[in-house]
Amino acid sequence: MSRKPLVRECPPTTWYFRQPRYLRYMSREITSIFVGAYCVLLVVGLQRLAAGPAAWEGFLLALRSPASIVFQFLCLIAAVYHAATWFNATQKAMPLQIGEDFVPGNVISGAHYAVWILLSLVVMFFAGVF
C-alpha cells in the first residue's frame, strides 16, 4: 500500500499561542530584552560616573523621569521572574545524588533562593538601604 502522509507545518510566528505553557516560556525569554536594555543603562551609568560628580548627579536626576521609573519597574519584574525560573531550573540541570537517593529538587532550588535573598540583603546593607 502506498503512503501519502499529510505533513502539517508548525506556524513559525504564531506557534506560542497554541498552549499557555508556550506563553509562559516566551515571557521568560522576553525578560532578556529588559535585562539587555538595563545593561545599556548600567554602561551609561558607568560612563557618567567616570565623567565626574556633576555628570553622576545628572544621571541620578535623569533616573527620576516617569519613563525611567516605568522602565525600571518592568526591569525589576523581569529580573525577578528570570531569577525564579533560573533557580527552579537548577534542580534539573544539577541534580545531587547522595548515596542512592537524590536530594529533593526543591531543596536544591530552595537553597538557591535562600542564598539569593541573603546576597540581596547584604548588597542592600552595604549600599546603605538600611
Binding site: C39, Q47, P53, Q72, W86, F87
Partner: protein
C-alpha cells in the same frame, strides 16, 4: 554532522544567567529606589566612585555587566528565532557584537574611574 561549537556561546550564557538571577534584581532595586527619589547612600558619587575605583569593585562591576549582557544577547537571539525571524546568523552577529562592544565600553569607563 560534526560536533557543534555552541558551548562557546552557551557557557557564558549559563554563567550570565546565574549572575543575572543572583545580582541584577537587587541592582535594579537600588536604581529603582534612586528613581523614586530615595537614593541609597551607596549610590552617592563618593561612595560609588570609591567602590568602582578599587580593583575588586571594578572586577565585580565588569563581571556582572559583561556576563549579563552576553547572556541576554544570547537569549534574545533564540527569542528572535522563536518569533519567526530566521536570519539567525545576522541576528546572532548583531547581538553578540553589541554585547561585546558594551562590555568593552564598560571596561574602558571603569579604567577611567
Amino acid at each position: 554532522m560534526a560536533k557543534s561549537h555552541k558551548p562557546v556561546v552557551w557557557f557564558p550564557f549559563a554563567a550570565g544567567g546565574t549572575v543575572i538571577a543572583f545580582c541584577i534584581p537587587v541592582i535594579v532595586l537600588l536604581t529603582f529606589l534612586a528613581a523614586l527619589g530615595h537614593v541609597p547612600a551607596g549610590l552617592s558619587y563618593e561612595k560609588l566612585h570609591a567602590f568602582a575605583a578599587g580593583g575588586i569593585g571594578k572586577l565585580v562591576l565588569f563581571g556582572v555587566i559583561a556576563l549579563s549582557a552576553w547572556s541576554s544577547a544570547h537569549r534574545l537571539r533564540c527569542t528572535c528565532y522563536d518569533f519567526g525571524l530566521r536570519a539567525d546568523t545576522l541576528v546572532a552577529t548583531v547581538l553578540y557584537v553589541a554585547a561585546i562592544v558594551g562590555s568593552i565600553a564598560a571596561a574602558l569607563f571603569l579604567l577611567r574611574i
